[in-house]
Symmetry: C2
Subunit: 219 residues, 2 copies
DNA sequence: CTCTTATCGTGAAATTATTCACAGCCTAAA
DNA sequence: TTTAGGCTGTGAATAATTTCACGATAAGAG
């Protein structure tokens, strides 16, 4: 049972949506309803849920709480997942309350920085350690997942230490392509790339519309 | 000449890499070199550059400054692209210096919030306005691209106003699926999804390795 | 009871993205 | 001059992903 990466992404989105719906008192949901809300198609939703191994029925669609639970069984670590944050700068400090608010399953339990002023301080409910201590603390707490938000210049060297310390998954906010050995996963949150892309695509669409319009005018 | 979205993303990454290489005094680069650095394949790089319409040669590979320029011609708006930031909270304030440092072509020229304490203040070199003013300022400055970093509850309503005001591309940091009319592009920076995914994949890989190991042991 | 309607589940087709395979080119060495 | 080696450009093959198309199911209307 191997679920493609794209499907994993959508499943995470489905769960968020399902939580919202649950809060609004909804008990059931149709594939086309989910699809519309995440900008996909009903077929796609049904196929994803098929891969997940969850069945609905033709009259009421999918049962929300059962589906949420099934998704949690797939995505969540039993007992929660500890996360370490590297780089307690502007971005790092902004991320802490964000994840605290939206994800109780993913807990940032330690942060690391090279600024001695921060050592020992508790920032956003999370103790900040010296980067030198990661080799001790990460194995001790058996932390497997890290968020990287350090300056570009030190991203690779921190990554190397981090992998040594036992980290297996990195959410990378630094606009640098990290080199990691096999067995370690990197997910890039490339904000610069995303902004360039969205600007490009907005221009592109505008251009296409103009072309079509002009095309119509001529005809 | 229609370039697929995936290729656009990689092209943006190539450019960043090329700038680094240029700073290090490199003049030329081979496809396999670029590929290694972004974790792709030489063939993929060559095909991307082919779509871009840039040629190298068999002895020296690709000429870095020429290629950078070609990429800029594709991705950049002549005269730069003005960007507006919505939501000057922790995240919003962290994003301003980030983009200022990494992207001179994409300039955040205005920010908006609903907190009256912030109106009129200049934060990170950027004036903060009341959200009520977006209908005036966005058309006046002909801003087409927006970064959305508001609380989840107001994301959709701000989006609606924003589209009304003439925004055509939105980089969305809010964990909510935005509904927009045709002709408007949304790019989701779904940090929660990304963290869930990286945690899942890290566990997955570990599991796979164990399976393989056990498989070997038995054989 | 039968018909209509709305939905799910899924094999198969279509589409999109990536990789293979190799011709062609250039340079340096023999 | 010839040969070998390393690289680019790209048609064709392959793989991944999405969409189509349709049978199955259930429930309400007539």
């Amino acid at each position: 049972m191997n679920i493609p990466e794209r499907t994993i992404e959508r499943i995470s989105q489905y769960r968020r949506l399902l939580c919202d719906l649950k809060k609004h008192g909804r008990k059931n949901v149709y594939s086309h309803d989910l699809a519309e809300r995440i900008g996909s198609t009903a077929t796609q939703v049904r196929r994803d849920l098929m891969l997940l191994g969850f069945s609905g029925n033709s009259k009421t669609g999918y049962e929300i709480s059962g589906l949420s639970q099934k998704i949690s069984e797939l995505l969540d670590n039993p007992g929660g997942e500890k996360v370490a944050l590297f780089g307690v700068g502007n971005l790092g400090r902004a991320l802490m309350p964000f994840f605290a608010a939206h994800h109780q399953d993913l807990r940032i339990v330690a942060s690391f920085d090279i600024d001695p002023d921060k050592f020992g301080r508790v920032i956003n409910g999370c103790r900040c350690y010296s980067s030198d201590e990661m080799g001790v603390i990460i194995p001790r707490e058996s932390i497997k997942v890290a968020i990287l938000a350090v300056p570009a210049g030190s991203a690779q060297s921190v990554t190397d230490e981090l992998v040594n310390a036992g980290i297996r998954g990195i959410l990378n906010f630094v606009p640098v392509s990290l080199q990691v050995p096999a067995g370690v996963v990197v997910e890039n949150m490339d904000m610069g790339m995303a902004l360039e892309k969205v600007a490009f695509m907005a221009r592109q669409i505008e251009k296409d519309l103009n072309c079509k319009k002009r095309g119509r005018d001529k005809t």
